[in-house]
Symmetry: C2
Subunit: 450 residues, 2 copies
């Protein structure tokens, strides 16, 4: 008898048994999920088998491609130049996209950016942008392309048309304990990013307490896999491994983070937000062919800050997306809850640590984030983290300020924010923001089967 | 904050991560599956995690117990004596239950037996019994108990009320490549058997080409796990590891297997069927307290054959279940397809091997078995395997006979049956029927987590 094509159960069994990688089988599986031939419980079993057996890079490329092709792929061919996007694996206080995209666009590299919403302790760029009066994050594909072409950048939310197979699979992973699996994370991230019609991608893989990856080894493995698979999928990809142990910058919340990003465009902003913006932006300019090295790229970005070119692109983008562009110059127009609870230092010393996870969860509890995907967020509330690791403090000096609607309801949360600070006698060892840089020459092959 | 009870996703993640065994979590999972709180895809992910991580014996006991308690547990307290059943992991030509239960009952040990239907290459006792005109395998619990009490044995099919959680989980395992997992097999078998209200159980774990376990190591591991877990669940359990490389006996089919079992009750029958019946029956009599050792038990069983006591119990049981009891003495009353295709030896030599899997699949193709659970079976068709490993043959001498409805349709199947025979010059090494015996003193601890 001629060998029959593998059944769907045989495909699951082959992965379970660690058979050599089979990209065609993965393409078949995703198509069967979308057609209804493969049941959710079969996909769930396969996902758990992948958790144990991994995927080869060729399989991860096939999964990325199948998820990407399950929906709309944006056509940005009308936009001249090398289109470059940035993706962050998520952190607390990470508002970098909001200043980064306009700055990079101001330097001549088009940035088509599809952003996420906050979930769990990590915030989302879409929620932050929607703190701008009138801003519309849900645009159709042709408006998106037109704004990228005219303004240089456009920032929208995920649409139902982009990578629906990823949505189905992510929803399953979320309830079947199969989220924490590098090849599945890689395919999920890349399928959505590649659907934007980009040519190159800079990844900000965060590591530490406030990151999805708490462990440096796992973060590095994710960064390497993203670079390898993205490169095999035909894109130019660079990843930076960046510190997310303490919250980034001062502001943790929606409107206050947007304001802080605009501070950067105005030449101010906290040092770590500025540095992260310059480090990521420099990679984007080099990939986009607008700088030959990162030193030159940094100089161009600084010039775009100094000249106000970045701020002007931000204003034009916000205006094109229905928002009030005056917020870029006049941050006081952004919502800000009136009541403040001040959290003070219990003793003299040096801030040894600020637990980003604890701060992020406190912000969720205040209404700035969501624990379920269908919850609304309050743009006006948030936490100002006024002391950072390494800062000296005196007993009674403010550590953080909670911007709240209702003081008494927020008092237990203030206690949690206070507990997020560790005050010590000796200053902590300094931690660099950018821990490592990975490109297609520095990543090592996959450990997955096949 | 006090530790919150684990969520269902956390229970899946704990198994995924190889956390110490948690019997309470398993109880919770099965209850949640039956209440609808746990989705099928979550159970599928857990099952795949169990495939990789295993279950501790305490977890397997908890799973068995939870599946058992998901349905009706038969109450046989009105039946005096130690109730003993036998379970076989399934083979080709295994009709032993049909002569075994009446013989053991004739020796004074009550046998409440819930039997399976054929699926894939293995036959099922219910299908074989239903070849008897009028025989009803679907009885309610009180009729079942009454017949066991009055006759000494009763043989019925699985009911919807027995272990519905096992049915749900087995249906999922079947389509998610999680069938081949020892603790899941153990819990599935034991939950159904313990629901019969038995005190002791003899297991016939088959090994070889025609068995579910093709490998002796895996079969032994399954037998040991069944004994360990069954013992922990409070039952007396013994397992025999028996050879299932060639089909058992001569007949492979429904009515012809039933006839062959009655041959044994009449003092005849193929030597391997007789030996398997005596070996398993001896264990049952010892567990049932009607013999002090297997030698004495064998003598009692032989006496029950010689006196016709076993045949009389079979007649009474069949009559009580609505069937025609005359078939026990007059096997010609059983259906038998009229057309025979004779498969002959292509050369002189010795039969080295008869591939039980190939013969079993040929029988399914003829209509004697089913490849899907909802297919009907034809009681009258089957294969008579006339030569066994070790038998000398001459070219042109019959190896097997196919009893078919339609000769021309069956010719390709006859070719498959011929190919199941390997004829060699030298005789094969003799294989004992009973390869090993495992009781609660000979089994080793579980390798599963926790």
């Amino acid at each position: 008898m001629p060998a029959a094509p593998a059944t769907l159960v045989e495909i699951i069994a082959a992965k379970r048994d660690g058979a050599p990688g089979d990209p065609a089988a993965i393409e078949r599986l995703v198509a069967a999920l979308m057609s209804g031939e493969l049941a959710d419980y079969q996909m769930a079993a396969w996902l758990m088998a992948v958790f144990f057996r991994g995927l080869s890079d060729a399989e991860t490329v096939a999964l990325t491609d199948a998820m990407l092709r399950s929906g709309q792929v944006l056509d940005l061919s009308r936009v001249p130049g090398i289109k470059v996007d940035k993706h962050s694996t998520g952190g607390v206080g990470d508002k970098v996209s909001i200043c980064l995209a306009p700055l990079v666009a101001a330097c001549g590299v088009p940035v088509p950016m599809v952003c996420g919403r906050g979930l769990g302790h990590t915030g989302g760029t879409v929620d932050k942008l929607e703190a701008i009066e009138g801003f519309r994050a849900q645009l159709d594909a042709s408006d998106f392309a037109a704004i990228v072409e005219r303004v240089g950048c456009c920032m929208i939310g995920q649409t139902a048309e982009i990578a629906p197979a990823d949505k189905r699979m992510y929803a399953l992973r979320d309830v079947t304990a199969t989220v924490e699996c590098i090849p599945l994370i890689v395919a999920s991230i890349l399928s959505k990013k590649l659907a934007e019609g980009i040519d190159a991608l800079v990844l900000d893989v965060k590591v530490g307490r406030g990151a999805f990856m708490k462990d440096a080894g796992a973060a590095r493995a994710l960064a390497e896999a993203l670079v390898r698979v993205g490169t095999r999928a035909g894109k130019k990809v660079v990843a930076l491994l960046t510190d997310m142990d303490a919250p980034m910058g001062v502001a943790v919340g929606n409107a206050i983070e947007t304001a802080e990003a605009f501070d950067v465009l105005a030449g101010g902003g906290p040092a770590d937000v500025v540095e992260c913006t310059l480090a990521l932006g420099a990679e984007m300019l080099v990939l986009g062919g607008k700088a030959t090295d990162t030193a030159g790229a940094r100089a161009a970005l600084r010039a775009a800050i100094a000249s106000g070119a970045g701020a002007r692109v931000a204003e034009r983008m916000i205006e094109a997306q229905g928002g009030d562009p005056r917020v870029v110059a006049d941050r006081a127009r952004l919502a800000r809850a009136a009541e403040a609870i001040v959290v003070v230092a219990p003793r003299d010393g040096t801030v040894a640590r600020v637990d980003a996870l604890a701060v992020g969860l406190a912000a969720v509890a205040m209404g700035a984030g969501r624990s379920r995907a269908d919850q609304p967020v309050d743009p006006a509330v948030g936490i100002l983290v006024e002391k950072r690791p390494g800062d000296g403090v005196r007993a009674g000096e403010p550590l953080a300020r909670l911007l709240v609607r209702d003081r008494s309801a927020a008092l237990p949360i203030a206690e949690r924010v206070r507990a997020a600070f560790t005050i010590d006698d000796a200053p902590p060892a300094p931690r660099p923001l950018v821990l490592d840089r990975i490109d297609d020459r520095s990543s090592t092959p996959a450990a997955g089967s096949g």
